[in-house]
Amino acid sequence: MTATDMASRPAAPRRRGLLGWTWKETRGFLFVLPWLFGFIVFIAGPFFFSFFLSFTQWRLVGDIKWLGLQNYAQLLSGEDTRFVQSVYNTAYYVIFHVPGVLIISFAVAGLLNRKVRGIAFYRTAFYLPSITTGVATAVLWYWVLQPNGLLNNFLNIILDPLGVQAPNWLGSTTWAMPGLIIMSFWSVGTTMIIYLAGLQGIPQHLYEAAEIDGAGWWGKVRNVTLPMMTPQIFLTLVLAVIGSFQVFTAALIITEGGPADATLFLLLYLYWNGFRFFKMGYASAIAWILFFIILFLTIVQFLTARRWVYYEGERA
């Protein structure tokens, strides 16, 4: 009888629970429990279910039909040309959007980090587009990008004397994507705030030391600011890549993927397959390919991070 064994044992220091752990060792688990529950039900469960669905054909009614690798074969063989187009478009967007946003954010954060009057006003102005509801921004840009819209009115100041015609952004397969990318450059707010916080954390004496060594403005940026900011740059790079692969609202509202699929993004194609054509299995397969692309790029970034990211207090 284990119970009596336990009781008769002379110096059991604390009461042992079911699996031999004390209350003090396990009570912390109760704090984490809500997250664990949510994770199992709303993240892990759907995650594996979606993996299963990606091997099937199902239109929400009738039986689920097992297809094996057929969905993936159709997507990856290039047979579905719209999917190929959506991968190309998304890559196009990411390649220009991510560096653009990081560079602009960095420059703006640098300016805002100086002692200037009315800083709250400038910060809010630069942050505005990032906190404006997606639909509102999209509809607004639908106007801005019209042939006689706000952007072309500005461009014409330069282009008219040169005799060049400003592009019909949304009506042309060549210019629709650049139009959306230009629009995306307005959402620098969050990245900028992270940089701003980072800049404020750089110890002043590093700049003083650099000045004593005769460094000019660029020397200080290159040898102090950039190395000290690499953790923030890395963080925002990872987040921006993950986020930009999931671009959706702008294309949905402004172009609906057009003209001629020129702005058909991966997520938009996923949405159409899942919730317009109700091809649940096929949409899940697209989701998994999207997931693997993001996972792959994130892992690559983490692996290369060791070469260029510098964490203070973690010296080699």
């Binding site: 912390g28 759907p46 400038y122 587009p129 307005w186 404020q200």
Partner: protein, 304 residues
């Protein structure tokens, strides 16, 4: 080189950037600095104008008469000035419903994400239990997982239990803490000295009392930052409400304003007015919280 040893220096009370020692600077350098300041302001003015102008354009459009929108060249200042657009907008769509739905979503989201995340982060930062580190790695892993991968199974799941076309498919998954906020808060809690917890425990406080009397009061900036993020994200949330809710009356504001576009051709002036109403609370919150916000992000050591 940045990698050189960093000497500990007594922090100056002023913390003035740009030379803590006052030496008379030569006139040439002073002139250069003045020039630099002018350039800084110039770039800031042009930049913030460029970033604010789409928004200002939105404000302008919200006061215009629909037919005036198509004039060439475009009106800069609305004439006639139509306040009526805001009233029309209010009466055209189920606008009050959208605001209420958005507020419910924000309230539930902030309870589930900010408040629950505090508890979870505390568990990870301040207690130890078997499997703690493994679970924390799991949380970090979910940060990499795009939420959209699970949209299809979630749709099927909520359809099966009959909750589609309501706020619940959007709100229910939010009630259990949010990985990014848990991460930020844990990092912050780790910076607080453990001795405080131990002293409170010696005085007979249990874990909850330590959390409420020691950890939360010391973590206000970090919690406020997370709360502001949370508010903005929930108020603007688009994809999930868009997929899960169909009935116009059940939509949230962020998705509902799209309605002005589909129903009547496009009532741009009303759509812009609705957008202003949707953005205004966030602008106000941000304008007043921005200083604490930046400080909060700096404090949470978001980099590590």
């Amino acid at each position: 080189m940045a990698q050189q040893t960093v000497t500990v220096e007594p922090s100056s009370p002023m913390g003035t950037p740009g030379g803590s020692v006052r030496i008379r600077t030569p006139a040439r350098i002073r002139a250069m600095r003045a020039g630099g300041r002018v350039a800084t302001y110039l770039v800031l003015w042009v930049g913030s104008f460029l970033y604010a102008i789409p928004f200002l354009w939105m404000v302008r459009t919200s006061f215009m008469r629909l037919d005036k929108l198509f004039e060439e060249p475009p009106q800069i200042w609305p004439s006639p000035w139509i306040w009526q657009n805001y009233i029309d907008m209010w009466e055209t769509g189920p606008f009050a419903n959208w605001i209420v739905n958005s507020l419910i979503l924000v309230a539930l989201g902030m309870f589930g994400q900010t408040i629950i995340s505090i508890f979870v982060a505390y568990g990870f930062a301040r207690t130890s239990f078997p499997g703690r580190n493994q679970l924390f790695v799991l949380i970090l892993a979910t940060l990499m997982l795009p939420g959209h991968v699970t949209i299809v199974p979630k749709f099927i799941m909520f359809r099966t239990v009959g909750l589609l076309d309501s706020i619940w498919p959007v709100a229910l998954p939010d009630l259990w803490g949010q990985a990014f906020y848990i991460f930020i808060l844990r990092q912050f809690f780790l910076t607080l000295p453990v001795e405080l917890d131990e002293a409170a425990e010696i005085d007979g406080a249990n874990l909850l009392q330590v959390l409420f009397r020691v950890v939360i009061p010391l973590s206000k900036p970090a919690i406020a930052t997370v709360a502001v993020f949370n508010f903005i994200n929930k108020w603007n949330e688009f994809f999930e409400p868009f997929v899960f809710i169909q009935t116009p009356e059940k939509l949230t504001l962020a998705v509902g304003i799209r309605w002005f576009r589909t129903q009547y051709g496009t009532e741009f002036q009303m759509l812009m007015a609705a957008s202003i109403v949707a953005v205004a609370p966030i602008i106000i919150v941000f304008f007043f919280a921005q200083k604490q916000f930046v400080r909060g992000i700096a404090l949470t050591g978001i980099k590590s």
